[in-house]
């Protein structure tokens, strides 16, 4: 019995060794891992909201001067991106190198509710940014981030690129 046990695990180990070799050779030459079509489009959309969050995050972290107008502008871009998310996830669009999980289409209502929530929380960030209360901005920024990580927790599996 012990042999089956070991062989099974050995093959997994060998597989991961091959995987390492694979990633070394593929490297990171292509942006978005060489994605095409709708997968590429949604990666670009996500990258944009990532850049928006990065700019706001730098201010919250104290790495950039605090400027509520810039925060409001970035919040607006994120809010505008929300309605586009669901359109960029047509049924079973999972081709490589997508990191999307099939659960998206099994739980479509929850997935689209999260894209709506993204716009809602981004709208709120835009509002509080206009108010200029830094503490409130910081808290709302964290709330918005929760929507990002919430969706990435249930519907995305990080792949090595």
């Amino acid at each position: 019995m012990k042999t089956t046990f070991n062989t099974h695990l050995f093959s997994k180990q060998a597989l991961s060794a091959l995987f390492i070799v694979g990633t070394i050779f593929t490297g990171t030459v292509f942006s978005h891992g060489g994605a095409t079509g709708v997968v590429k489009e949604r990666m670009e959309l996500m990258k944009e909201v990532g850049d928006n969050m990065k700019q706001v995050g730098a201010m919250v972290k104290g790495q950039a001067p605090f400027d509520s107008m810039t925060i409001a502008k970035n919040a607006k871009s994120i809010s505008d991106a929300g309605p586009h998310i669901t359109k960029l996830f047509p049924n079973d669009s999972l081709h490589k190198p997508s990191e999307a999980l099939p659960a998206i289409w099994e739980e479509w209502d929850q997935f689209s509710a999260l894209s709506d929530k993204l716009s809602d929380e981004a709208n709120k960030l835009q509002e509080v940014a206009q108010g200029g209360d830094k503490r409130a901005i910081t808290m709302q920024f964290a709330k918005l981030g929760k929507v990002c990580s919430g969706c990435h927790t249930d519907y995305r599996k990080k792949e090595e690129k």
Binding site: M1, F5, V49, K54, V60, K61, G62, F66, H152, K157
Partner: protein, 289 residues
Amino acid sequence: MKPSTLKALTILSSMLISPITWADKDTPEVSDPVKSGEYIFNMGGCSSCHTAKEGKALAGGLAMETPFGVFYTPNITPDKETGIGDWSDEDFIRAMTKGEAPDGSHYYPTFPYTSYSKMSRHDLLALKDYLNQQTPVVSENRPHDLSFPFNLRSLMGFWKMVNFDETPFVPDKDKSQVWNRGAYIVNGPGHCGECHSPRNLIGGVKSEEALAGNLEGPEGEKVPGLTMAKENRVSQWSDEDLLFSIQIGMTPDGDFLGGSMGHVIENSTGKLSQEDLKAIIEYLRDSES
């Protein structure tokens, strides 16, 4: 320093003064045993596994898929029949630190007792107090669905001989108190190494490569390394970047962590005090491997 930078730093430090700024919660009252138990419960991330997505809190039933089969987490509410309401303090401590059930049988290491065994008796008793205060739920445990020979619990006795180091946490006198606090959290309740360390052929954590990353993490995830080796991107991150990543999940490029780390942030690291998060970072900056 420009005045604007100074202002920004003031905001940041006002965040640092009040712990759990993001969590919409009050500071844990350390003198209150149940409150401090709740804090330890969060540190242990117990809900990530013992509360199923649509299930009642701590009633178990979460399916964990592994190459050995599917595990279903048990009910750890204080219900006397189907939960752990009947357990003595010693039963609980034995389960958490020896990986043994009250009847003496062995637990599978999908229950990370391999890390929890480093928790102090004081913390474990506070945790037990907290669990005792939760709402009891009547819910029978679902048996695991494992392939032969992994369905044999007795095999775990052998597994432990090879893989389980049951020595308690011993502080390193040459390191600061903060570093030791970080070491305790990372290797004990926080159980970071359970996912972030590579495993040997029979699924034991390779202690000599602790936190080096794991291409074959739980559910096939690729788990990044946390050591300061230059191939790990955390080695390029500032302390604030690291703090942000484990507190709210944001990485320096504006992306947000997810997968099983999403649960860790939601249930555990996102609820810890700034002091404890900084201790984790201090330890990661200077851990052995």
